[in-house]
């Protein structure tokens, strides 16, 4: 398989930094051990392996685990349609990794979005501002410890947010007598039989 060959070439170049390519549903994923190397790895993938198109950058909040953040770079080679996913972990204390803006210009807004939603910073990014939320908004809403109902905020003359009533909405899917915020499935890990921790409980942990 073509993508597997390219992934192995990446591994040959960077050695132990790159994990064995994993396959799921025909997609190839490699994991980069050191997030600080992401720019070098991406630059190599672009110039030597032909991954000239960055499809997307996603981020995951592995709440309650260490390292907390996972970043996912989805690369594509337009000439032969090979697609490769590079994942890398970033710890919560660090919450920072180098930008890949020098490799693909499209990463500019993707990185701004991740900073806006998750609060992960990209060193070397020239314009790391919020993009979907407004300047001055104090939270990172896609983090797992941010409740779906929202938190009250107020930036005078700009915007405010209020807590949304959740009872009766389509969201609550866990059977329990806890309040609706505690019953959200967002922090649920199915193997873990301890569903729905409320915000206060989470803060204590």
């Amino acid at each position: 398989m073509l993508t597997l060959d390219l992934a192995n070439q990446l591994k040959a170049k960077f050695g132990d930094l790159i994990s064995e390519p994993a396959q799921f549903r025909g997609e190839v994923t490699v994991k980069l051990a050191d997030a600080q190397q992401i720019a070098e790895v991406c630059a190599f993938a672009k110039t030597k392996l032909g991954f000239n198109y960055l499809v997307d950058i996603s981020s995951i909040d592995n709440y309650g685990e260490d390292p907390r953040w996972t970043l996912i770079y989805h690369l594509r080679n337009l000439a032969n349609n090979a697609e490769l996913r590079i994942k890398t972990d970033v710890s919560e204390e660090k919450s920072e990794l180098p930008t890949v803006l020098g490799v693909w210009a499209t990463s500019n807004w993707h990185e701004r979005e991740i900073y806006d939603m998750m609060g992960i910073r990209f060193s070397g990014h020239p314009d790391l501002r919020r993009i979907l939320m407004w300047e001055g908004y104090p939270y990172f809403p896609l983090r797992k410890d941010f409740p779906l109902a929202g938190k009250p905020t107020d930036v005078p003359d700009v915007a405010f947010t209020r807590v949304t009533p959740m009872e009766g909405g389509p969201f609550v899917t866990l059977p329990s007598s806890n309040d609706s915020i505690a019953r959200e499935p967002r922090v649920r890990v199915p193997e873990d039989a301890e569903p729905g921790l409320s915000d206060k409980q989470l803060a204590k942990k």
Binding site: E27, V55, R85, M133, P185
Partner: protein, 423 residues
Amino acid sequence: MATVQDIEIRDSAARTAAALEDLQDMQGEKMVLNMGPSHPATHGVLRIVLELDGELITKAAPDVGFLHRGDEKIAENMTYTQFIPYTDRLDYLAPLANNVAYALAVEKLLGVHDKLPPRCQYIRVMCAELARISSHLLGLGAFAMDMGAVTVFLLTFTEREKIYNLCESLTGARLTTSYTRIGGVSRDLPPGWTDQCRKFLEEVIVNINECETLLTRNRIWVDRVRDLAVISKADAIDYGLSGPNLRGSGVEYDVRKAQPYLCYKDLDFDIPVGATGDCYDRYLVRMEEMRQSVRIIDQCLKKIPGGADNKTKEPINVDDGKITLPSKQKVLSSMEELIHQFMLVTEGVNCPPGEIYFGHENPKGELGFYINSKGGGTPYRMKIRSPSFVNLSIIPKIFPGCMMSDTVAILGSLDFVMGECDR
């Protein structure tokens, strides 16, 4: 008697500085102009902060997010099936295409994306292509209207009305279709739908040709859009453009051809590409894509297994009680189906742990869903790769050097939807 006269000879650096100062006096100050978020030509709530030197744009800073609803957060808090109506509201000009894209993404996670019944695949392709025609017609109409050609807008909206009627008889809704289900579609084609659709195809092609005669060789139109906001091939790839904007710059990439899904590999169609990457090329690409979509739907109507009224009872859903809902009859009479129905409604479709990305060729570009599952009926994380968001990120690159009056033409040619951009 000779007198001594002082002559001041300035060195070259001082002379340059003085000349620059004179020039700046002549040019005057730069003006910052705020365009949007409520501006008819920004087609939604896009705000662009423009820095102008006279009528010339020197800097453009787009500001997005006014329509942010937190769709990705919402998706983490509901079952896969419950999220389908939210996909209607991404690119609300092509809700059917979004439904298809989302359903295919979840099916890929389940591993049933290549086991869909053929009739379901053909219905979905027709939906996606109808959505493409509808979206391009609106994009074209609004683009032309912003350039002063109001007739085109009236023509294209007449045709879009017919597509809405088709949507209505197919799905029960004109805008918020929510037509697909995980593993199939919500209902089969209603009686007479194929005839209605065939009639529409005959009419729309006449109308597309008429729009073409109104615009393609129209001197005013050509003068306004040609050689404007040229996006080079390298830039289009570097900025991650997709859809007609990428192909307008001459990159022959279409997900339908590159990684065929559904029954696209059995269908015959061409991928139009532009030559220079200006606004005119993007317009031409969209025109040709509509014709190709008509061609695709026409083939689907001929080839669809089961024909118009499905006399042979071809299935439209995956035959798996753990993915698709059983029939009402079965639920009321059989224990196993009752349990399946109960589990699907309360817990959702049980997806395996894993992660997938599925990109779908939407009218605006590549709509992708990255789903990270830890098992169970809700995604752990769902990232929506919206084409409009990525396409808009090239604005700071192409706006400088254009005239203020060109902004509406460029925005029209980029053809974006803020509902999808902001999610």
